[in-house]
């Protein structure tokens, strides 16, 4: 009886080892083309900031510093001195006297898309300003400057108080006005109609 159990145990062990080998095989690259990037190579290109802000770099900024930068970094040239009176998209909600010529998304504020009021997460603002602004000098802003510009825009749109310091802890916690109003598309599945019953 004991020997029988031993045999079974051995067999089970063999099966377990075999399936582990199979598993390892499935996870082994088939072609081995390309190489492992260094940590530095990844760090240099990884500018994605997700909604929970875990990739946000150290640094901090305030609305007062952001107001200065908004002029110094020439943001005013395209977005206007008030953030809603330039040729580029509206950044600060206007009094409603000026209508944007750009198509407006929902929710539309005075006929304009105001990023600070439309994005669900403040991280979207940080990510975009960091990667794509200012015009012709994209990617040159330092983390403190990006935190400050986000703080300035959020303050001017009435989302945060003027004295709030934004850093990698506080910025992801900012509750954006549109946080609960945006819907993600339902899970995508191969071969399934986008919206059942439509039309």
């Amino acid at each position: 009886m004991g020997a029988f159990t031993m045999e079974w145990r051995k067999l089970l062990l063999v099966i377990a080892v075999l399936s582990l080998t199979q598993l390892a095989k499935a996870q082994t690259p088939t072609y081995g083309v390309g190489r492992t990037p260094t940590a530095e190579e990844i760090r240099k290109v990884d500018i994605s900031i997700g909604p929970d802000g875990k990739e946000l770099p150290p640094g901090h900024g305030t609305a007062a510093e952001g107001a200065k930068l908004f002029r110094e970094k020439q943001c005013v040239v395209c977005h206007g001195s008030t953030g809603s009176n330039g040729p580029a998209p509206t950044l600060i909600k206007s009094d409603g006297t000026k209508k944007s010529k750009y198509p407006c998304l929902v929710p539309c504020v005075n006929d304009s898309n105001v990023m600070a009021l439309h994005a669900q997460y403040a991280t979207t603002m940080w990510d975009y300003i960091n990667r794509a602004m200012p015009l012709n000098k994209e990617g040159t802003l330092k983390p403190d400057e990006v935190y400050s510009l986000v703080a300035f825009l959020l303050f001017k749109n009435g989302v945060i108080p003027e004295d709030q310091v934004l850093d990698n802890q506080s910025l992801p916690k900012v509750k954006m006005p549109n946080h609960d109003h945006g819907a993600l598309a339902p899970e995508w599945k191969h071969g399934v109609p986008i919206v059942a019953g439509y039309p």
Partner: protein, 423 residues
């Protein structure tokens, strides 16, 4: 080499001498032609510019008689004040078959009309994030991997017909279809080993603004492609040279050009591009992401004119973001009766298909329409059907939610002129 080229020069010289002698002989002959014959005007030789032989040999050009051109979208200046926003439409009224010439492919880009001039030897694709083995590829390394060649359409979410539009280039010109060649993204992701819990990828381009977008991992592992070839040659710079992402059937914005990075992540990263398409209703969001079944008649279409009653073929393009097109129906009486059109090209998944219906026009005013059904059984809605579904009144104010894939009418007047049926 030296002697060869001098031989060639000699040959050319001799050739020229021969031509010269022949011309002299012809001139001599002309002097003896009777005076009566000289009154008939000889057929003038077409004026020939000295051909640039090297150019003729190296790269073919279309005939100067062919004038088909892309045009800017009416509503938005291209480029904009900053020289950066670009929306140009493909001349669908001139299209034949199912493939758009690469040079006439629509372009829709924000801050990208200054096309990056990327040296492929310097370009890299990094795959990282929630993977077991981050990977970095050169373009040449990508080309060593097993490739696929597939036809897929691209369409901008803004491809929405308006009553003010005159031509099919204006109503539907922000879609194009190419034969793409590249490596399946699923192959690259398997090489990297996607970790459990991964739900999205963030794809990013190398242009100045590093445009990025979130794509569900299920789609990334299904049929997405890292493409380097388009219509038998390298991608055009306006289409993402040296490599771009193709997300078949998803709205154009997801098809990241100048692809430099794929980050595997646990949730939708809500990038600038993603947030810009945020809507409060999940069903609208779904219709915003994937292009519904759609078709349009390209002949006869707006601003064209039928010379008179008689035989014509009604033809156009149909496509769906979820599957291949199963069938196309055409109505020549404003939607009361529908006839099944012939599909004249293979119907590939998420690709344009060319349809046609032989037709005798009786010379009377009529409204012609097309509608398609895809392999999932989803049918292109009329504006009335879309309005009924969304419980909104169908009037000129009604805006079809998501990507507008509604049935589009052309009105043919009794003089043969063709007009936008929405007007």
């Amino acid at each position: 080499m030296e002697s060869k080229s001098s031989d060639r020069r000699k040959f050319l010289k001799n050739g020229a001498a021969f031509v010269g002698a022949a011309a002299a002989a012809a001139a001599a002959a002309a002097t003896v032609v009777p005076a009566s014959a000289q009154t008939t005007t000889p057929t003038p030789m077409p004026e020939m510019e000295t051909p640039d032989l090297e150019a003729l040999i190296a790269y073919g050009q279309r005939s100067p008689f062919v004038k088909s051109m892309r045009t800017s979208v009416m509503e938005r200046m291209s480029p904009d004040e900053f020289g950066m926003t670009f929306h140009v439409q493909s001349p669908l009224q001139d299209s034949v078959g199912m493939i758009t010439p690469s040079s006439l492919h629509y372009v829709s880009t924000h801050r990208g009309s200054y096309v990056p001039n990327i040296d492929p030897a310097e370009h890299r694709l990094v795959i990282h994030g929630m993977v077991d083995r981050p990977l970095i590829f050169t373009v040449d390394e990508l080309k060593r991997l097993p490739f696929v060649t597939r036809a897929h359409f691209l369409e901008c979410l803004g491809n929405r017909a308006k009553s003010t539009h005159k031509t099919v280039q204006q109503t539907h010109g922000l879609t194009s279809c190419s034969e793409w060649t590249g490596v399946l993204l699923s192959l690259l992701l398997k090489e990297a080993g996607v970790q459990s819990g991964a739900a999205f990828i963030v794809a990013e381009g190398a242009e100045t603004v590093k445009g990025a977008t979130s794509i569900p991992i299920a789609k990334a592992m299904d049929d997405c492609m890292v493409a380097y070839g388009q219509n038998g040659e390298a991608l055009r710079p306006q289409q993402g040279y040296p490599i771009r992402l193709l997300v078949p059937g998803f709205e154009g914005m997801h098809n990241v050009k100048y692809l430099r990075r794929i980050k595997v992540v646990e949730k939708d990263y809500m990038t600038y591009n993603d947030y810009g398409h945020l809507v409060p209703d999940a069903q609208v969001a779904a219709l915003t992401r994937v292009i519904g079944p759609k078709s349009v008649i390209t002949f006869p279409s707006g601003d064209q004119k039928l010379p008179g009653p008689g035989f014509y073929e009604i033809t156009g393009l149909a496509w769906s973001g979820s599957a291949a097109v199963r069938n196309v129906e055409i109505s020549t009486d404003g939607g009361q009766n529908w006839k099944v059109a012939e599909l004249r090209t293979p119907a590939h998944p998420m690709a344009h298909v060319r349809f046609a219906l032989p037709w005798n026009w009786d010379g009377k005013e009529c409204v012609i329409l097309s509608r398609c059904t895809d392999e999932l059984g989803t049918r292109q809605p009329t504006r009335a059907e879309a309005a009924a579904y969304w419980k909104q009144p169908e009037n000129s104010e009604f805006r079809v939610p998501g990507a507008d894939n509604s049935v589009f009418p052309w009105r043919i007047a009794s003089d043969g002129s063709v007009h936008n049926g929405m007007a």
